[in-house]
């Protein structure tokens, strides 16, 4: 540039560049979501009108039709139930594992941690057909519990890793002080460690919820009648007119969006220590 800048100007320029980068990132993330939202609530006439880039008249008719005429509320309820069962099972199994990895040094700890992550490298597609056959034999096919079990196997590695990093952030000295002052091992966990870890664990629970909520592939293979929302949209709403697709997309996006707004300050604790 050649023009000498005062430190103030340099500071201002730096600030401007950071803001510009932030705007680009936000636009990258939010543009599709904004488009989905606008299209979901646009009057179909406006949506199909080539002369209107942005619709001007809005209605909740699309979302209502999807939920009540196309029975979308049933699959929405199914999705919520599946997600809740997934949270219950993966926390019942994942919390103790995460705690053990965080607190105890035992032989093979790092190998076990690696194996848990490696589980996520396994492509689910290759397992789709055997899994469906197994489910039919076990009578789990087309049940919500079956889908929840499949989702648990996907969510469990994350639950173990997230909870272990949350438990690591609770100092051991707190637990030992509790023991010296008269708590047993399990009382220490429930009265000291768990309350301190609770915000992070809540974030992990919502993370599990969103993961199960978003999963459509396995859910559409394992169910026929009792479909979850993404499976339902994937199979039936894709044949519907565009405004219904966008209405479905809008409903799908809601929990993940609210999750990020609520849990963003815990996201660093969730991943912070495992990334180190």
């Amino acid at each position: 540039m050649g023009v000498a800048m005062t430190p103030e100007q340099r500071m201002a320029l730096k600030k401007l560049l950071i803001y510009a980068a932030a705007v680009v990132v936000v636009a990258w993330v939010l543009t599709p979501i904004a488009l989905i939202t606008v299209s979901a609530f646009a009057v179909p006439d406006d949506y199909y009108n080539m002369d209107k880039v942005i619709p001007t008249r809005f209605t909740t008719q699309n979302v209502e039709d999807l939920l009540f005429v196309l029975k979308g509320w049933v699959s929405t309820l199914n999705s919520v139930l599946v997600a809740l069962i997934t949270i219950a099972i993966s926390f019942a199994l994942g919390l103790p594992a995460g705690y053990a990895i965080a607190r105890y040094a035992f032989p093979g700890r790092d190998a076990i941690k690696l194996l848990i992550i490696a589980l996520r490298m396994f492509p689910v597609m290759t397992m789709a057909v055997p899994l469906a056959v197994l489910y039919i034999e076990l009578g789990l096919s087309d049940t919500l519990l079956g889908v929840a079990l499949a989702h648990t196997s996907m969510a469990l590695p994350f639950v173990v890793l997230i909870t272990s990093s949350i438990f690591m952030s609770v100092p051991v000295a707190y637990e030992e002080a509790g023991m010296v002052f008269g708590l047993s091992r399990s009382e220490v966990f429930f009265r000291i460690t768990l309350p301190l870890a609770l915000p992070g664990l809540a974030a992990a629970a919502i993370f599990t919820f969103v993961m199960s909520w978003n999963e459509g592939f396995i859910a559409s293979i394992l169910t026929l009648v009792n479909r979850t929302l993404p499976a339902d949209i994937l199979v039936s709403a894709m044949a519907a007119p565009d405004p219904y697709k966008f209405a479905g997309g809008f409903i799908m996006v809601l929990p993940a969006m609210s999750f990020v707004f609520i849990a963003r300050k815990y996201l660093v604790t969730m991943w912070g220590i495992t990334l180190r």
């Binding site: 707190y174 030992e176 002080a177 010296v180 309350p195 301190l196």
Partner: protein, 89 residues
């Protein structure tokens, strides 16, 4: 108060011997200081007395009572940790 007695107290972490056959008697009401360089086993000895570590060999007595394997909550001892352990109640 009570007399604290260590008999042949030994604690190993893998191959490292942290406390090596310590015999010690602290009389009732006595003020005792363990002095030594970092890593010489002061903390480990105290943790064995408090019950936070179980020694590999030897015994810990409070008076005549053998407390070597007693959980910390049943020992009626206090320990102040190097780092503060104050948390929300």
């Amino acid at each position: 108060m009570v007399e604290v007695k260590l008999e042949n107290l030994t604690k190993r972490f893998g191959k490292v011997v942290a406390v090596d056959h310590v015999n010690l008697k602290i009389r009732d009401g006595e003020f005792m200081v363990l002095l030594g360089p970092s890593g010489c086993g002061k903390t480990t000895t105290l943790r064995c007395i408090a019950g936070l570590e179980i020694p590999d060999e030897g015994k810990v007595f409070f008076g005549d009572e053998d407390v070597t394997y007693l959980p910390p909550k049943d020992r009626n001892v206090s320990i102040v940790f190097q780092s503060y352990a104050c948390g929300p109640t």
